[in-house]
Symmetry: C2
Subunit: 675 residues, 2 copies
């Protein structure tokens, strides 16, 4: 990204400069992106750009020159990239991040005496003024630059200065001064002696691509057995991998695989009393057989896990683990570190509560223990343990009930050693808390998507996530349902509702996931009316399902994932844009690549019961289309092809067949003969 | 401002706390007001409030307690003021500034274990749960608070803890725990051990009232002679004071009073060649008779100045001086400090230019001289010299052509010693530069008012200045005209145009000024069509005027200033609000005191040629009025009284008589029999 006309870092060494030199006249304000005054890093994936803007100005009327400085990792010498003026003293520059890890950036500006001099000179010459003295001044400026220049440039500029000096009295001096070739040569050797540098260095966390674009499949390993009634094993899970891979996912996320406590174990449907054969919740972690670094014996052992991990890799699937920092009463920590829990005056340990509700099978950790740092170290070692087994993606359970400083520290520590690790925050809580978790380091975040159903809700929420500063650090992960959340929309809307929500999740969100096989089998029985809990929730029992059941959405899911893989427009949320429709039951949005080489328009019938029709009103210019020429709309779901024209186009979507169009659009004349 | 329920600073000593304690769980974001990440101070005058807001939240579900901490001057111990929750984790607190100088403030939040415990307890009791252990936990919390408490409170809380502990098994324990009196007692002794404090202390510059509310009268002292043709003196100026005071101004601002250079002196109408008797521009400062610390001999001497200053004070007028840091070629600096100027290759000093325009009578100072700090010191001494003569208000000429760091330094130095000094920035330049000058310390700022004429222009501009963060640091000073600026609107609109612009300046701006007597005599002849220069500008010649000329706006000006003095609503811009009208030539806005005890509605006909009528649509609730009852509208300009009712009210304004209403409105039933 070294820009033309600016010195490569080698020729022009920048060092830390004192900011308070009395003569630094350039002011730098409102640098963007900057999260909370620079307190938090923005996020990018490898290959993306960071577009930096700032208000930069000085007293008086001198011309300015500005640039972005950026450092990869712990490099001491910055690279630089030129900034160009927009309007109203706003400047913009850009650099590309090419390596996983961290970058820092800042902005620098200085008065450009040469540019100022040259512009003034043109005006003087136009006004017919005597410019002899001005030409001598210019010769001095060029001679100064020659001293800063390297190699041949130095010689070139020195010669230029001499020629100009010697011709100052002659008519030819003017043309020498205004020679175009002088401009880039001078721009290569600016005099940043009095440059102002923005006082902060701002941080970028650079992740691998999967942090921005991923398709998750969540499942309970113990339900993978091929025989009804038998506890599934990790070996059984291996057998499920071809099925999952055939749907086109790239992450398999296992619910917790650790030993499960028996004290106060919950029975089916969250019953307070477990039957003898009840398997308990995988989130009630820990038993005499171990804690967060152990595997539930009925699933297998560490060797089985590593084998499963390799098999998954062979199918193009990366394994994500669920990390839930809480303990069953039987967890080894409760004996080895009773001080990590809240002790009650009667000597018992405080179980989890949300008064008046009680969760006796779970002990929360006490992060206000005097031994905090010892606790932090142990929890960090849990991540490290699974990283050592190959795991580089973690879905973190309820991070919003543990302190922010802990997450900031542990994610920083882990990513410092393993910058390719991805953390997904499973927090469904108040907006500022959700955002804070993303700011302090979580790579991806669950969202309110499950509860955003109407056109207005979806438009407002996803515009906020993708078109404000939030997009700089918060990467949404969209889940139509989870083992904890069966939304009303799915409970009542049947198979069509599942299709609608799948299309929305997969098209609105570059990151999305489903909880399977419940999802592709459209399981929608709730515990009771008004509840979002599943009836006979898999959290408390083993499920056995017919994956080939009629009506499975397996092929539809595969098609959605295929479309996501084939279309780079869908692999980022940055260029999400909503378009008007004249029927509130019809949602229309588009995504595109920066260069508009891939443009996808999605139209969804939000009503799972009725066919809906209406007109969509496309903002054609945002799609690279013009109103006068027809354009192709190739429906990647149905493989149908339409010829559309102009802003308004008609759609009709029947939930019983296909409730959505996913249209790849392009100007008609760009199509080959194949159309 | 010590709030109820929070510890006075004495009982609970706050010291600088380490921010990174692992157990500090509370996050504090988006503190407001905060200018550019805390880089600049907000401004207040004595007696005003600082309302502080922040997003404050923690992990989990604990109750929080939050407060504003603030320090006056260099005090080490803060005072505190409680914050209350608004919505969505936003908290608000407030403190009052009572002393000129500086304040600092920040925000603190902590999880309130007692409040959390008490709320949970209520829920448990409602659910009929056994709470014996909970009551023991509460007793411990109260006993802890007793240790932090002082004097009688300590004894009280200890006793409470004992009673609760002893009754934990009994029914009476519950009622002891929930006793209302316990709440304030516990709130007085919070446990801020794990409190999070916002990492920055934010600054407030507290000025005297005149920084917010002032009425300026600018004039050329040399034009004050009672005889045509004679150069006016400071003694002559004394004789003008009653005239100025009678119009109700409180600041008299003198154009520069220093010796004027003769080299390249400008003649009448800015002619490049001066006649023998031409007096030159007062801004071409410096001659053999002295520079910025000298008085032009034809005006008098320092003794005359001090005498004038005292006489002005007797008339309730404070003297403001014009400080223009530039030199005529004859200024002593040019000999004593040639290094403070740009030297050209031919050995001459660079005069001011805006190519191709040349200003040979002015040498700009070179702030990039290696001797910068010596130059800065000298310029500071200019302010100090006039402060020693009693001057505490400076109108600074063209500050935008001198470096920001210089102003930040010199204003900081001067106000550190003399916090009552007021600096007005005369910068008419690009928006960010104008705002930056205010951020770095100027107490008041000229604005674009002179070029904002239409309803839309005025509404947008003054909404931006008064209803965004800009209001925290930028105090507008509104001038309908200056010696440099005779706007088109005044050139063509006659006397009515001057009335319109006067009402707008005086009512929209708590700070405003006129350039007299040109203004009250409606002088409107421009140098040439399209120019904003006065014909026979007073900048280059002495004027002699008949102050009693027919048509003088003297009485009208006096009335406007009287209304400003009588109505506190007009003495601040913070509650400026525009109201709709159905005629774009009619502008309607209101100002009010915070408590709505004084509400002014201004309606102005913006058309200086035609009578305009229409309906104004008042936002009644912002005025403390309701739509069902009539309200009084007393026109303070005409002394007319109207009974208005509801949102829509009719107005008709004739520019030939009175182009504006300045209505004092109040509910009809609050009026006495006098109506």
């Amino acid at each position: 990204m070294e820009g033309p006309g600016l010195a490569p870092a080698e020729s022009f060494r920048l060092t830390e400069q004192p900011q308070k030199d009395a003569r630094r006249r350039v002011a730098i304000e409102r640098v963007s992106p900057e999260i909370d005054g620079g307190g938090f890093a923005i996020k990018r994936v490898v290959g993306e750009s960071v577009v930096v803007e700032a208000d930069i100005f000085a007293d008086g009327h001198d011309q300015l020159a500005c640039r972005v400085l950026y450092w990869q990792g712990t490099e001491r010498e910055p690279q630089s990239s030129p900034m160009t003026p927009l309007v109203n003293d706003r400047w913009r520059g850009e650099f590309r991040v090419s390596t996983i890890g961290t970058y820092r950036y800042t902005v620098e500006g200085w008065t450009d005496r040469f540019k100022t001099w040259r512009d003034d000179l043109s005006k003087r010459i136009t006004a017919g003024q005597d410019v002899q003295i001005e030409l001598l001044i210019g010769a001095d400026l060029i001679a100064d630059a020659a001293k800063r220049a390297a190699g041949g440039d130095s010689e070139l500029l020195r010669e230029w200065a001499r020629r100009l000096h010697d011709s100052a009295e002659k008519e030819s001096g003017k043309s020498i001064a205004l020679e175009e070739e002088l401009l880039p040569a001078m721009a290569r050797y600016p005099d940043p002696k009095l440059a102002s540098r923005y006082e902060k260095k701002l941080n970028v966390t650079v992740d691998r691509l999967k942090a921005r674009f991923s398709s998750w499949y969540e499942f309970f390993p113990r339900s993978c057995s091929s025989e009804a009634g038998r506890h599934g094993t990790l070996r059984d899970c291996e057998a499920c991998l071809p099925y999952i891979a055939s749907m086109g996912f790239d992450v398999v996320y296992l619910t917790p695989i650790h030993p499960i406590g028996s004290t106060y174990r919950k029975g089916k449907n969250n019953s307070a009393v477990a039957e003898r054969d009840d398997v308990g919740s995988p989130w009630a972690i820990g038993s005499a057989e171990g804690g967060h670094k152990s595997i539930h014996p009925q699933l297998g052992n560490l060797q089985d896990f590593r084998r499963f991990f390799s098999k998954a890799e062979e199918h193009g699937l990366e394994v994500a683990l669920d990390i839930a920092f809480q303990c069953s009463p039987d967890h080894p920590y409760t004996r080895e570190h009773p001080e990590w829990f809240w002790k009650r005056p009667d000597g018992t340990i405080q179980y989890a509560e949300n008064p008046p509700k009680k969760y006796q099978d779970i002990y929360p950790l006490n992060f206000e223990t005097p031994d905090t740092l010892e606790l932090w170290d142990e929890l960090k070692s849990v991540f490290q343990f699974w990283i050592d087994q190959g795991v580089h993606i973690f879905r973190v359970d309820n991070p919003h009930t543990k302190p922010f400083p802990f997450w900031e520290w542990v994610i920083g520590e882990i990513k410092g050693q393993h910058p390719d690790v991805i953390f997904l925050a499973e927090a469904f809580t108040r907006p500022h808390v959700m955002l804070r978790l993303a700011k302090i380091g979580f790579s991806q975040s669950y969202t309110y998507f499950a509860w955003r159903n109407t056109r207005q809700e979806l438009t407002e929420y996803f515009t906020e996530l993708t078109q404000t500063d939030i997009r700089e650090y918060f990467r949404a992960s969209l889940w139509p349902a989870t083992p904890d959340i069966l939304p009303q929309f799915l409970q009542v809307g049947g198979r069509a509702a599942f299709m609608i929500r799948l299309v929305l999740a997969g098209m609105l969100g570059a990151n999305y996931g489903i909880y399977g096989p419940a999802f592709e089998l459209s399981e929608n029985a709730a515990l009771e009316p008004g509840s979002e809990e599943f009836l006979y929730s898999e959290k408390y029992e083993i499920k056995h399902r017919d994956l080939n059941a009629e009506g499975s959405l397996r092929d539809f899911v595969a098609r959605v994932n295929r479309i996501r893989k084939d279309n780079p427009a869908l692999q980022s949320d940055r260029r999400l844009r909503f378009h008007d429709t004249d029927n509130p039951q019809i949602l229309c949005f588009s995504k595109s690549t920066d260069d508009l080489s891939n443009v996808i328009v999605v139209v969804v019938n939000l009503d799972s019961f009725h066919t809906q029709s209406g007109w969509v009103h496309l903002d054609l210019s945002s799609l690279g289309l013009d109103a006068d020429n027809p354009f192709q709309a190739h429906d990647l779901l149905s493989d149908g092809r339409f010829l559309w024209r102009g802003v308004r186009n008609y759609v009709e979507l029947a939930p019983g067949s296909l409730p959505a169009h996913v249209l790849c659009v392009r100007p008609a004349d760009s199509y080959g003969a194949g159309f």
